[in-house]
Amino acid sequence: MSRPCPLSGHRPKVGREKARVRVCRGGPRRRSGTPCLTSAAPSVHNRVRHGVLDLRIAIALLALWTLLSLPALAVERFPPPDFSNHQLPVTTVPPPQFAANPYVDVALLALALALASYLAIRRRSRRGLFLLTIASLVWFGFIRHGCICPVGSIQNVTLAIFDRAYAVPWAVAAFFALPILFTLFFGRTFCASVCPLGAVQELVALWPVKVPAWVDHSLGLLSYVYLGLGVLFSATGTAFLICRYDPFVGFFRLAASANMLIFGACFLVVGAFIGRPYCRYLCPYGALLRLVSRFSKWHVKIPPDECIRCRLCEDVCPYGAIREPTVATAVTERRRGRRRLAVLIGLAPLWIALGFWLGTRLEVPLSELHPTIRLADRIRQEQTGRVQGTIDASDAFRNTGRAPADLYRQALALSAMFRTAGGWFGAWVGLVVAAKLIHLSIRRQRNDYQPDRSGCVSCGRCFWYCPVEQAKQGWIQEVPGTGPLFGENSLPAEQAAGRKMDLSP
């Protein structure tokens, strides 16, 4: 009686044992007789304990039990031969091997984040950040095989919100939340030297070139679109798109399909010239952190003291995240800018509405990814004779003995869901575009060269190269040149280039 009920998974409580025994003893307890439905009994028994009612419940339960035990009989297994002297081997069930204990994992993540924040903001140590990057690459990448990472955890959290049957494991939830919390206070220090995907790109950013601003801005929108798609497909329980197209996880596992390895290699080749292409133009978690980082309490600063406007930082930033000081504009220009801003803000709802409308049109291509809809399509095509022959999926469906009409009903409901989801996705894209346009039209005032809070990944190169910092650290005697030096570097080009490769002070 104390066996755990295989259906409900509950171990019956001892205190309620007595009543249940009474119910079951009368029952035909033969064969697979595991009293499953007794888990339904406690709440009833608490209310009615004695007398006729009790008996009636017992009879009802008995009837239910007989009913439930019949299918069990139907699939009853045939016994093995009665060997005279042979012990049946036991089927081995090796338990799951996780790369790390979740407690250790989350603790290490928190530690790495704290260390990265300290190194970037307090200690201002590029070397420390670099070493931490390598350590993170080794641990979160190659030892833990890059899975699960905060980037992918977006989908687990989304699925948990929309799918009542799915509970996100607490370690995954922690992986999702911790970097966001740290970013809220310290900027994207996670991207700087904790994320293994960022780390691998950080290492290959050897000959970075400046991406034209308009390309950078437009490609930057992609990551928000990708975030939208990732959320859409995980919310509908269709796919974990972000994990599927993770370019570097194959390297971390040292095993992947050849095509995914080529894909990752291509990213690295591009990354040699365009710094962190995945982080800047695709990473959906990066998109989230960019939003959060705007409101961070602290953030890396380039010059510790007064900026000498040497532009070294701008030159050295591989990610195009340094914003130059603004120049004063004429009043008429400012007025025009304000008018433009007003128009753009006014147009924002229109963008969103347009996006929603266009998104609902995406129902068919989006839903194609859902296995049930794909299957329903295939079955319909086979039934109407539009395709010849069957595939594994349609054969498997027929073997289940389910009626196609039932499948079509399910597919239709899913389609409707995708229409709504597509609409929200479109609205999100509309919002992103509108926000980008508005953001570009807002005029800001900057006196110094400053990192763009959303684009900056806190890698620390800028303050590493800053002459003011170097002088402060005592690495050089004095700040070369004084005053604003627009248009030319204060250091000879060769020297700057030489320093780029050389990480030791």
């Binding site: 019949l70 009989l73 139907a74 699939v75 009853e76 045939f78 016994p79 031969p81 000959w207 070139v209 599927r244 197209y245 370019p247 399909s257 095509n259 995914m260 080529i262 894909f263 290699a265 291509c266 990213f267 080749v269 591009v270 010239f273 365009i274 794909r374 595939i391 594994d392 054969d395 498997a396 027929r398 073997n399 289940t400 003995g401």
Partner: protein, 389 residues
């Protein structure tokens, strides 16, 4: 001049490299078969293929399909022919009794010709709806008028079925093999008795005074008198080698009674049909394992047996679903139905559907020599008639 041209070239080169890398990456990702639509990519040596054995030489077919009688059951499991060629089908905790088939072609009796393809079939108030004559140049033998004459309801799922014939001590008495016991019913459908519990029952058969019950768990055939009194058993070795004679690795262990007074028992693990006298002596045994048409395929076959009025044996196999006819002595004569005439996904269905695992096609033969095949996937009885010589 050269110094100025150099950075331009470098820039072009970088752009080119980046574009090529993006292109290669895009193509690489595009070509991944995420959904497995192009199959596993394994070579043929990794594929399990029975195609070769599923093709049967058309010349070997000695029977042809003349009609299909749909059975309105979720889960039909057993078929038997009753007195006067009534058709009994068991399943869904019930037994449906259908009126006999019309005398058809190939039986020497003339029938009034009816238009092809629109035979009225079984038009019943009961569980069945219209039957369907198969497109063939032969008259439709489906019974006319009220199809189901009665329904007997059962307490649990039936697995096997037999009816006492005219020679039986109680003609028309219905013996139903449940999972582990036998229930008996009078010809009018009233319940007679519930016999004591045995192991896993797969088949029942009856001679004039004896009822045989095949028990796949004990691997013996029990003998009872018609009232359920144990008489003995067949299949237990005596002498130095103890233990069962039958190799029964799975719950397929059919028996059938022949007009020659011998009980046919399938020894499925040995791929043999054995004939026993009523007192349990092995008279003859035949059959060999082979995927080829004359043998019994795979494992645990034949899975069902029936005996024609002239004493020939009808065997039904699972795995590669096929129904064949052998002479009483075991000479292969011809094919009744193959994978093509039986439900197309029967073989596949037994792979995945656990509820179908316990009852592959079952067969019965009526007094006119027509073979009735119960197809549990198509949920119908397929009626086959011997080709005219």
């Amino acid at each position: 001049m050269a110094a100025q041209a150099k950075p331009v070239h470098l820039g072009v080169l970088i752009v080119a490299v980046v574009l090529v890398a993006i292109g290669v990456g895009a193509v690489a990702v595009w070509r991944i078969d995420w959904l497995g639509e192009h199959g596993s990519g394994l070579s043929d040596s990794f594929k399990y293929d029975l195609q070769k054995y599923q093709k049967i030489d058309p010349a070997l077919f000695h029977y042809h399909l003349v009609a299909e009688m749909p059975i309105d059951m979720r889960d039909p499991r057993a078929i038997a022919i009753g007195l006067g060629d009534q058709i009994l089908v068991a399943g869904d905790k019930a037994i449906y009794v259908y009126s006999p088939l019309l005398p058809g072609e190939g039986t020497g009796t003339s029938v009034s010709p009816r238009p092809l393809g629109e035979g009225p079939g079984v038009r019943a108030a009961g569980p069945t709806k219209a039957g369907r004559a198969v497109d063939s140049p032969h008259p439709n033998p489906l019974p006319e008028g009220e199809g189901t004459t009665k329904t007997i309801s059962l307490d649990s799922e039936p697995y096997s079925l037999t009816v006492g014939n005219a020679d039986h001590a109680f003609p028309g008495r219905i013996y139903v093999g449940m999972w582990d016991h036998v229930e008996t019913f009078a010809p009018d459908g009233s319940h007679l008795a519930t016999w004591s519990k045995l192991g896993i029952l797969t088949s029942v058969a009856c001679a004039d005074k004896v009822v045989f019950v095949a028990d796949a768990h004990a691997k013996v055939v029990w003998e009872f008198n018609p009232d359920g009194k144990p008489l003995g058993q067949i299949g237990r070795r005596s002498g130095s080698r103890q233990g069962p004679m039958f190799v029964v690795p799975s719950p397929y262990f059919p028996i059938a009674m022949g007009p020659d007074g011998l009980l046919r028992v399938s020894n499925p693990g040995a791929h043999r049909v054995e004939a026993f006298t009523l007192d349990g002596h092995l008279e003859l045994a035949w059959g060999k394992p082979s995927e080829r048409i004359e043998g019994f395929c795979g494992c645990c076959n034949p899975a069902h047996l029936a005996v024609l009025p002239d004493g020939r044996i009808v065997t039904a196999e699972k795995g590669i679903p096929r129904v064949k006819v052998y002479s009483a002595e075991g000479t292969f004569e011809g094919v009744v139905a193959g994978p093509e005439s039986l439900s197309p996904n029967l073989a596949a269905a037994t792979e995945t559907r656990e509820d179908l695992r316990l009852h592959p096609v079952s067969v019965a033969a009526d007094s006119r020599g027509r073979i009735l095949v119960l197809d549990p996937v198509a949920r119908c009885v397929k009626i086959f008639v011997e080709n005219q010589k």
